[in-house]
Structure formats: C-alpha cells, structure tokens
C-alpha cells in the first residue's frame, strides 16, 4: 500500500496523467496548425 502513495498524491498523479492524455494530442494539433498557418505569410 505504501508504495502506491497517499490518496492525495494518487489524485494529483491522476490529474496530471489525465491532462497529459488530452493535452499532448492537442499540442500536436496546434503545432501542425501553426506550421500550416505560417504559409499565409510565407507562401
């Protein structure tokens, strides 16, 4: 039990994991968008 941390630590870990779960794909999408959008000024 002690190896899995206190309830508040587990909760913090779950919050970080869940935000990474949705945040990383979104960051990839935003990166691709910025790459494409710059073509308006350079293309």
């Amino acid at each position: 039990m002690s190896s899995s941390g206190s309830p508040s630590e587990r909760r913090t870990g779950l919050i970080v994991l869940s935000w990474c779960w949705v945040g990383l794909p979104l960051a990839y999408g935003v990166y691709e968008l910025v790459r494409k959008a710059t073509q308006l000024f350079t293309g």
């Binding site: 779960w21 979104l26 999408g29 000024f41 350079t42 293309g43």
Partner: protein, 428 residues
C-alpha cells in the same frame, strides 16, 4: 472533469476533418464530390437528431452512460466504414460514419455539458467553453494525423480501410478515459471551482426540457444559434477560394499554399473563440456577448464587403473575428440555457437546440454555393462573386440580433414545481 469532457470532444471533433478522406475515397471508389460529402452531411444531421431525441436519456442515465454510448457508436461507425472501404461498399461507409457515428457525435457532444454546468455553477461559460473548444481542436489533431496515416497505408480501398480501422480503435481507447473519469457532483455541492460563495447547481429557476420547448426564449435562442452558425459557415465553406478571388487582381495575389494557411488560421480562431468568448460571457453576461457575436459580426461582414479587397490584413482580421464568434456562439449557448432554464435538464434542452446546428449545416452551404454559382454564371468575378452572399450573411446576423434582444427571463408559470427529483435535491 474537464479532461474527461475533452477526451470525448477532442475525439468527436474529428468530424470536421472528414475532408481528408474525400479525395482518396473519390479516387478509390469512383465517387463525385457530392457523394463523398454524404457521410459528413448525414453525420451532422444525425448529430442534431440524436442530441435532440437522446437528450432526455442522457439526463436520466448520466454522463458515464452517455459517454459509453458515444464511444461505442463513434468507434463502431469507423469499424463499419473500414468494412465498407475494404469491401468497396460505399453505402456501408455512409451508414457507418454518417448514421452510427453521427449518433455518437450527438450523444457525445451533449454528454459532459450538463455535468460541467453542475460542477462549475459559478463559471458555466468557462466550463462548457473548455469542452466545446475540444470539438474545434479535434479537427486540428485528426486532420494531419489522418493525412499521415493515409500516406503510410496508401490511399487505395485497403489503405482507407486500415485508416478507418485504426481511427476506430484509437478513438475508443482515447474516449475510454472520459468514461472512467467522469462523475457527477453531489447534489448539495456548492463550492463550484473552489469558491465558497458560489451558487448551488440547482439554485434559481428550473425548467424541464418539455416545458422549455413551450417558451419563446427557447425558440429565440434557436434562431440566434442557427443564424450565427449559418453566418460562420458562410466564411468557412468558401474561405480558400474567397481570399484567392478577393486578391486575384491586386499587386499581392494569394497562392494556394497561403490560402491553405488562411484556412488553418480560421480553424485556430474557431477554437480560441470557443474558450475565450465563452469565458468572457461569465464576466459580461450571455445576452451582451451575443450582442457582440451578432452585431460586431455583421459589421465585420460589412467591412469585408466594402473594404475587403483594399487590404489583406483587414480581410484576414475580419474573417478571424467572424470565426471566433462562430466558435464562441457554440460554446456560450449551454451557459445561456443554464441562465434561462436552470441545470435540471439543461443537457436535454441543449440537445434539442442543436437541431439549429443541423439546419444551419444544410442551409449555410446551400446559400453560399448557390449564390456563388449564380454570380459566376452572371459573369461576375473577384470580390463581385461574394457581394450577395455577404449581404445575406449580414441580414441573417441582424435577424439573430433581434431574436437575442427578444430574450427575457422565463416566466414563472414554466418553472418546475412538483418534480420530486428537484424537490428532493432542494430539501437536502
């Protein structure tokens, strides 16, 4: 709760990236442009219908049930489409992606809304803005991801089938996070977003979904949403050819790559507008923010019509503002509904209101394409091709503006009095 909502909305937002599959499908199955658009169009119609008819079930069975249904339908839609592409049976793709997947879109779209409003009663605009921003962000992820997948699998029937299969499996896993994490707040929870003075979720007037349909407020908002979405589609549908035509005869013509960059910027404005304007509505009020969407939106269209071809930065700026209002209109409407009808069945009421989106999804492209075609056959070119479209969009926004002005607090006779659920909650 926000990551749970985002995992569903980021997935179902893939619908806006359907156009990635159009050229390979047209080539592999010898389809016309109109035919290859069918799965998307059916999906949007099914979104509105399933949200309207399934809203009450979502309220009754809760967000976890709704997200599970959305996961199963959205994923099954892709799996059926994979079978359709592999066997070269296009009707299976239409039925799978458009029919079954469309039900997943509708149930998934409304699944977190009611729960978010109950978790964050003091900041409803921000809460729903985050989730509905996910729907805009979904296309940003899916568009490059699907394109890369088709590139590596190949764009023949087998490659398209493999891409659909991968989409179905990956989205099922991704949405599972939402199913596992989502939970409703305790009925007496009052600390919304940590603020001890926040109102309880069930405070204020409560109106049932059935009763809401009998109020003029619901139909005024229906018109507001329909007009705002139709006007946004006016730009979205023709963005790339519009900027090219506007500056074709100037000293700074726009290349194909630059117009693609313009479309990408519009997607960003759509997404940022969802969270930005919806959060702003918590500060300035829902009616005021819609005055901005519709009134300033009409002025932006007027600026494009009168001065658009004189300045590229002005044209781009006006289009970006219009698209941010388009996204903001979607994201703010659940909070507007909550203000008017309470949280009791706000998810079901929101579902019924989304029929305005389905209507606009058909009306908008019809108006824009019909006007553009008729202007072209009349021998017009450049900005002249779009003059009538822009005027129609201004008129639609003004109709929406008037409808917003007519919105008043819901009369007490529509408020819920004897529903045991609410009585029980209020007595806790």
């Amino acid at each position: 709760m926000p990551p749970a909502a985002l995992s569903v909305h980021l997935s179902i937002g893939q619908a806006y990236a359907w156009s990635v599959f159009k050229p390979p499908l047209e080539e592999a199955l010898q389809l016309s442009g109109t035919q290859s658009a069918l799965p998307f169009q059916l999906a949007i119609v099914m979104l509105g219908l399933s949200a309207a008819f399934g809203g009450t079930l979502v309220e009754r069975n809760g967000p976890r049930w709704a997200m599970t249904v959305a996961l199963c339908c959205f994923s099954a839609g892709f799996l059926l489409s994979a079978l359709g592409a592999w066997s070269e049976q296009y009707w299976l793709i239409v039925l799978g992606y458009g029919g079954v997947g469309g039900v997943g879109l509708g149930i998934g779209y409304i699944s977190p809304v009611s729960t978010l409003l109950k978790w964050f009663p003091d900041r409803p605009g921000t809460a729903t803005g985050i989730a509905i921003m996910g729907f805009g962000g979904g296309a940003l992820i899916a568009s490059p991801w699907s394109a890369q997948m088709l590139e590596s699998y190949g764009s023949g029937p087998g490659g398209i089938a493999a891409a659909f299969l991968t989409h179905g499996l990956v989205y099922a896993v991704f949405m599972a996070l939402g199913v596992l994490l989502v939970r409703v707040p305790a009925p007496d929870r009052t600390e919304g977003a940590g603020a001890s003075v926040a109102p309880a979720a069930t405070s204020g007037p409560q109106v049932s979904a059935r009763q809401a349909l009998r109020t003029p407020q619901f139909w005024c908002l229906w018109i507001v949403l329909c007009m705002n979405v139709t006007a946004g589609i006016g730009i979205l549908e023709k963005a790339a050819p519009m900027i090219t035509d506007f500056f074709a005869d100037t000293s700074t013509p726009v290349s194909a790559a630059a117009s693609a960059g313009f479309v990408a910027l519009l997607s960003a404005a759509n997404m940022v507008g969802r969270i930005g304007w919806s959060a702003t509505s918590d500060l300035v009020g829902r009616k005021n923010i819609y005055r901005v969407y519709l009134g300033v939106g009409a002025l932006m269209y007027l600026a494009i019509a009168q001065l658009g071809d004189s300045s590229k930065p002005l044209f781009v700026l006006c289009a970006l503002v219009i698209l941010s209002f388009y996204g903001g209109g979607f994201a703010t409407v659940p909070a507007y509904l909550k203000d008017l009808f309470g949280t009791y069945q706000v998810g079901a009421i929101h579902g019924r209101l989304l029929t305005a989106w389905s209507t606009a999804g058909i009306l908008g492209p019809l108006i824009v394409n019909w006007v553009a075609d008729s202007q072209e056959s009349a021998g017009k070119s450049g900005p002249g091709l779009y003059g009538l479209s822009l005027t129609i969009m201004i008129a639609l926004l003004l109709v929406g503006f008037v409808a917003n002005e007519l919105v008043r607090p819901v009369h007490e006779r529509h408020h819920l009095r004897k529903e045991p659920d609410v009585q029980q909650r209020q007595s806790v």
